[in-house]
């Protein structure tokens, strides 16, 4: 080990990404880097393409131009096998949780494991399920169906299902949207806990500045299909930009 602190490694690198749906250009040349072990918050108005961006990162959508590099691999150029391998390392927590309706919480959590870690015994799987459930504080829900859970519980189960493969990168799509303030605080600390406990690097999409402030090491502002402002929370909101100020005013004015 060298005494000198080396530059943090870049785990996701996005360059000049453009994406249109029909005539509507959503992303107009987005550039962004995610460093190892950092929580990067992406802020932006509804419909600016935040969800589209992380779907491109995980290969659910393909950009029209530009490159997306994840853990050193160009996502759009991967074959099906390599993409599967990459996805084991990239967890995606969906905006609407996307739990499997027809399965219990336990089956939801087991689902990625039994398919991708075939060597695991029943006991090891149970242990993994209990560990992540405990991490999100919902051990008691193990036999319930997703329809019996509250919105906040569903979010947390969704995060747990993503954590169970122990990904290096976590992508959170609006983890606190539509939740009460106390649940938001719980989710924020869950995100921070995940980072400390599993040493993940994360992109957190949100409208919620408290969440941004609590969880974000850096903030990136997505405006008009490009990242206009990237920096710490205070740096970003020191700006006089008419498009950034309303975010702050709305969230913190009494």
């Amino acid at each position: 080990m060298t005494a000198q602190k080396s530059l943090p490694e870049i785990v996701i690198s996005i360059r000049g990404v453009k994406k249109s749906f029909g005539d509507y250009e959503v992303l107009k040349g987005a550039d962004l880097d995610l460093y190892e072990r950092e929580n990067l918050v992406v802020l932006g108005r509804s419909g600016t393409g935040k969800s589209v961006l992380i779907k491109i990162i995980s290969g659910l959508l393909t950009q029209d131009s530009g490159t997306v590099n994840v853990l050193g691999k160009d996502v759009s150029k991967l074959g099906p096998k390599e993409l599967l391998a990459l996805r084991l390392n990239v967890g995606f927590s969906f905006q609407n949780s996307a739990l499997y309706d027809s399965m219990t919480v336990r089956k939801n959590l087991e689902f990625p494991l039994v398919r991708n870690r075939k060597h695991l015994t029943k006991g090891e799987i149970n242990y993994a399920v209990e560990t992540v459930l405990d991490a999100v504080g919902l051990s008691q829900t193990i036999h319930q169906m997703p329809s019996e859970l509250s919105g906040g519980q569903r979010k947390r189960i969704g995060i747990a299902r993503t954590l169970i493969l122990q990904p290096q990168i976590m992508l959170y799509d609006e983890p606190t949207a539509g939740l009460d303030p106390i649940t938001c605080i719980e989710i924020n600390s869950l995100i921070n806990e995940v980072q400390e406990r599993f040493h993940t690097s994360s992109i957190i999409i949100t409208h919620d500045l408290t969440c941004a402030k609590e969880t974000g090491d850096r903030i990136a502002m997505l405006l008009d299909g490009q990242f206009q402002k990237i920096g710490t929370f205070d740096e970003v909101f020191a700006s006089d930009d008419e498009r950034i100020k309303p975010f702050y005013d709305y969230n913190f004015i009494v």
Binding site: K55, S58, G59, L60, L84, A85, R87, L88, V90, G91, F92, F94, Q95, N96, A98, L99, Y100, D101, S102, F111, P112, R115, N116, R161, T162, L165
Partner: protein
């Protein structure tokens, strides 16, 4: 329209490509087979039985005119085996199973559950589509023979009240009249029906548009297109079997 055909072609090709390579979702296939059978069993039993009774009752006067009511078992049996059972089973399954596959996959699609499977490094096509199509392709032929049997029993109920034929004799005269070709043709036909119903349901659900409206549409078109294709295939199958007979 052409684009749609191309997409259907791609979907079917993808099915065969994925079908040929393991791993298979064994548990899920069995669960789906059970679902397919379970969903239509009651309705099929009822329809098959009533069709058997009614068809026998309706045919009786015409045969009686020639004093040939002893031909009833073979007449009913052949009609059931060749056409009624495969068609009834397929139509009922298209209604019950096709629509529920369309709705289920459709809602999984719009609530991003299919995307969620994909990002958790599972192949949703294999888990959802392959298992369902295998299930309908295997289960619907079995249901078809079940329908034929129930229909025969229905027919016997009518015969029982009119002649004193024993069930054994009734079945015997049915067995004497059917050929190997009848059984093979029905089996192949209902395999094709089953495949069609599963495929149409999955295609509609898997490609349903965003929003809850898309789910309803997917379920609806699964039934309409499924039934339409079943009729088309029935016509083609009849032509082919005629060709083999002559």
């Amino acid at each position: 329209m052409l684009l749609e055909l191309y997409r259907v072609h791609q979907f079917v090709m993808k099915f065969f490509k994925e079908f040929l390579f393991p791993p298979y979702e064994g548990k899920e296939i069995i669960r789906q087979c059970y679902q397919v059978g379970y969903r239509s069993l009651l309705l099929i039993s009822l329809t098959g039985f009533i069709t058997g009774i009614v068809f026998t009752k309706q045919s009786r006067p015409s045969l009686a005119e020639f004093g040939a009511t002893s031909w009833l078992p073979s007449l009913v049996g052949i009609a059931l085996l060749r056409t009624l059972a495969p068609l009834l089973t397929a139509l009922i399954s298209a209604g019950k199973v096709g629509s529920s596959i369309g709705a289920e996959l459709g809602s999984m699609k719009v609530t991003e559950q299919i995307d969620a499977m994909e990002v958790s490094a599972t192949n949703p096509f294999k888990f959802l589509v392959i298992s369902r199509v295998i299930a309908t392709t295997v289960t619907i032929p079995i249901l078809t023979f079940y329908t034929a049997l129930v229909g025969l029993i229905g027919g016997f109920v009518n015969v029982m009240f009119n002649e004193n034929t024993s069930f054994i004799a009734y079945i015997q005269s049915f067995l004497d009249s059917i050929t190997f070709l009848d059984i093979t043709a029905s089996t192949i036909k209902s395999i094709v029906f089953g495949f069609t119903i599963g495929m149409v349901g999955c295609y509609q659900g898997y490609n349903s548009s965003r929003g809850t409206e898309g789910v309803g549409k997917a379920a609806n078109s699964a039934v309409v297109i499924g039934m339409f294709l079943v009729f088309v295939e029935e016509i083609v199958a009849t032509q082919i079997t005629f060709f083999f007979k002559t």
